[in-house]
Symmetry: C2
Subunit: 504 residues, 2 copies
């Protein structure tokens, strides 16, 4: 073990301060979405702006650059996998990106997004795309400027995607999506023809929100979420945030007439939360104490939500417990009924309500339209029509209006282009990771059916969670699964599972 040289100690100190400010901002954002009274909004915006500006100024300072340069010299011969070498390598990458974007551009995007968000809320409420269109035009334009500032070799989308999924290329995503499209589009048609094969009525039985909360918390405890180092609250849209590896906050929402809303939302955010709680304490306050990428983060939430929570063993274990939590309300339900119900496939307009089979098609459509917008291949006035045409081609349904079509997602109004693919990548990563888990733990299904989740969590902690951001998604997938990401595991999983459910 190397004794820590002075420059490295100084780098850690400076980064620690930057992260204290960023984590403080996360506390303020969490409070805003869980507790803040309406009157607090204006002051909160000022506070967040000051915190974010401060963190950005400190992180992109010349002093930080000099420290990083000195440290690169120091760790040049060190083990690639060591914390110190990883710190210098990953933070240098962050620093170079952050320095490339002019602060004025960041500020302008923040300003434009604030206005765009307000316009989007109104536009969605009135299904009025033209109201949002001029704001989207500004956002596309600013994203083009950001991409040019960051630089790219092949596609302009590469620069934006790289902000969310480091080192992932547009061509790679496009190839994955082509493989998915060729397979899933006919599969969705085939299932749609058997539409009534699955009865999902049980999902709509009224169940008390208190009971749903209690059941969700029990599941979180069982899968390993540590309530000494985290908590769950309610919010309008579920999310996960972390103020430290020892203070991870989940939120959920509850619908008394549709329990999957809370249950799968809770498990999904729980998957994100387990990742955050599993990062090695040594990486605290360095900027490596987070997920490897948005896609890898999503792989953890989807793995627990879908590959565990929508599996037959899960319901073998939990149906009796759920019947206890809601006495007399689910006594006539058997495992097969509920297993099939939570896996019903149904092409629909809304991404966040999509099942495992159709979900990626929603993402693909957004990925293609984002590329077209950035490359000037679609005029924004034609965007709703382009959206609807792709919905018909991929899913066989056409949104009844733009509120449940092109206006449904918040991301563009928040200034984010290049973000959507990470959701689909998360699904693919999760399936490929789970294939490896099954090889390493052959009796996994039996253990899950007995409620033994620790063996799975232990595997994920060891292979993925503890490393935080030390590795790129590509490096991580090579380490964990021995191969680069492909659609194979995901497609095999989908065909096996849904072939059985729908009988072909």
């Amino acid at each position: 073990m190397h004794e820590e040289p002075e420059a490295l100690r100084q780098l850690r100190t400076r980064l620690g301060e930057v992260w204290d400010i960023r984590r403080a901002a996360a506390v303020l954002e969490w409070d805003q979405l869980t507790n803040m009274p309406p009157g607090g909004a204006a002051a909160r915006a000022e506070q967040l702006a000051t915190l974010q500006k401060t963190a950005h100024t400190w992180f992109t300072s010349d002093e930080m650059g000099q420290l990083l340069e000195t440290c690169r010299g120091l760790v040049a011969g060190w083990d690639y996998e060591s914390d110190a070498a990883s710190l210098v390598r990953v933070i240098t990458r962050d620093y170079n990106k952050a320095r490339k974007i002019p602060p004025a551009l960041v500020a302008e995007l923040a300003r434009v997004s604030a206005l765009a968000y307000e316009a989007w809320v109104r536009a969605r409420a009135n299904a009025d795309f033209p109201l949002f269109q001029p704001h989207l035009e500004r956002i596309v334009d600013l994203n083009i400027q950001i991409a040019e500032a960051l630089g790219y070799q092949d596609r302009i989308y590469d620069a934006l995607l790289d902000q969310y999924e480091p080192d992932m290329k547009t061509a790679q995503v496009a190839a994955l999506f082509d493989a998915l499209k060729a397979d899933l589009v006919p599969l969705v048609r085939q299932i749609a023809e058997k539409g009534r094969a699955v009865d999902a009525a049980v999902l709509s039985r009224p169940l008390s929100v208190d009971g749903q909360w209690e059941f969700g918390v029990m599941v979180l405890r069982d899968i390993g979420f540590d309530f000494e180092r985290g908590r769950q609250d309610r919010s309008v849209h579920p999310f996960t945030t972390a103020f430290s590896v020892n203070d991870v906050r989940l939120t959920t929402r509850l619908d008394p007439n549709y329990f999957p809303q809370a249950l799968f939302g809770t498990i999904h955010e729980g998957g994100h939360g387990l990742y955050e709680q599993g990062v090695a304490p040594e990486l605290e306050r360095t900027g490596l104490d987070d997920g490897a990428s948005l896609g890898i983060h999503e792989s953890q939430s989807r793995l627990w939500e879908n590959l565990v929570g929508r599996s037959r063993p899960f319901w073998q274990h939990y149906l009796p417990r759920m019947q206890q939590t809601f006495p007399g309300q689910l006594d006539d339900v058997d495992v097969e009924t509920i297993y099939r119900a939570v896996n019903r496939v149904q092409p629909s307009f809304i991404r966040v309500e999509a099942d495992e089979v159709t979900y990626n098609l929603h993402i693909m459509l957004r990925f293609e339209l984002e590329n077209d917008m950035l490359e000037g291949k679609v005029h924004l006035s034609d965007l709703p029509a382009a959206w609807n045409a792709k919905m018909r081609d991929y899913l066989g349904v056409v949104p009844t209006d733009d509120a449940v079509g092109v206006l449904q997602d918040v991301h563009w109004s928040g200034g984010m282009l290049g973000y959507f693919p990470t959701y689909a990548l998360g699904n693919l990563y999760s399936a490929q990771i789970m294939d490896q888990v099954r090889q390493d733990i052959p009796d996994l299904a039996d253990r899950l059916a007995r409620g033994e989740f620790g063996v799975l969590l232990g595997w994920l902690r060891e292979k993925i969670h503890r490393h935080g951001r030390k590795y790129t998604p590509t490096e991580l997938m090579q380490r964990v699964t021995g191969r680069e990401l492909s659609a194979a595991s995901y497609l095999a999983y989908i065909h096996t599972k849904f072939g059985e459910i729908y009988g072909f």
Copy 2:
């Protein structure tokens, strides 16, 4: 109206950033006491340290000093009461104080206090004063250094008191306390002899915590606390904090077997909250958006808690409502019974549980001992004995051990000497202010009995709340009541009220 000169605009911008950071720290502290899981403590300490250091560094910068100097020139001839002149005057005072204390001393006090707090928790749990004594010695020593750095003319205590109650002098407090002592000590004896004249059994009836919460929230709404610009949560010790004049957070605690705990705690914090919500929006993010002093702040909480909440008109209005909230549980209670019960006088060991008559004697004792410690007139090993002797002299009771004696309060372990008098000053301010209110609103009692609290809140807003920190406590009392603070209003109030209750 003056057009705002550039230097003033810059001053506001810089102060705004300082206050964004301080308010962010307040959010983190609130979260720590209401929501944070135990695991979050270590990271939270780092985050708060970085925020506080940042705010301090920015506020005490040379640039800030130069801006203030320029602005003093600008506003020299302006109206004393204008926002701009007040801003420059008050912030200059804050700046000069902050610059006088070496940052190393601040850091050392923070470090020593963190250890002292841990030691105090253990010492109190074990009623073991010697465990805490060496920590208290360090804290007294550091407070002496701070007082010397700040400077003073008469008593060393002046410098410390001034941190919490600007411009208030030790001699003035001592004179007020002498007047109180001469009057209250015999009064407490007289009441103690009539100990069983008041039956307080009704206070211990079991009442559901949900009902108590609901009733407390109703009272808060009625007295004018705006839940669109604030909220209430639970915490171990009640407190109020503000992230903006439009985002004020109260906390309370609930005891199912002693409803005054929650009710009067809620009204007390509500009084603080009304003050914060009433500050003029123009003072936001300037450092003037807070109470004039801790004593004036306490006057608002005590006014609502005691002069309103423990008054006969209050119970005329609320007893029927409380009977509705708890059906069948209070039907046999009449206004006189509950009015007398909530006003029972009983000398006890614990300050925070003390009634209106004995409360100030608890403070007096601490004020005298703090002076003795700072002036080397008591050896710390003799402190418990000195404490107990004063308890016997003033209250006629002697603590059974140091946990309910010299170790009961958190303040010293937090590094704060000079803070306690502000509680007693709050009581005196509140009585003197209320005398003025009664002159200006002759039918106040009738209106309170009808639940018309708006007239009182309107008066307080106009005379006190909206001004924030523009005036010193002395200036404010002159403006509001036309005279400087004396014990007369308070003593007259006590004698009238408790003379009637105890029949002499």
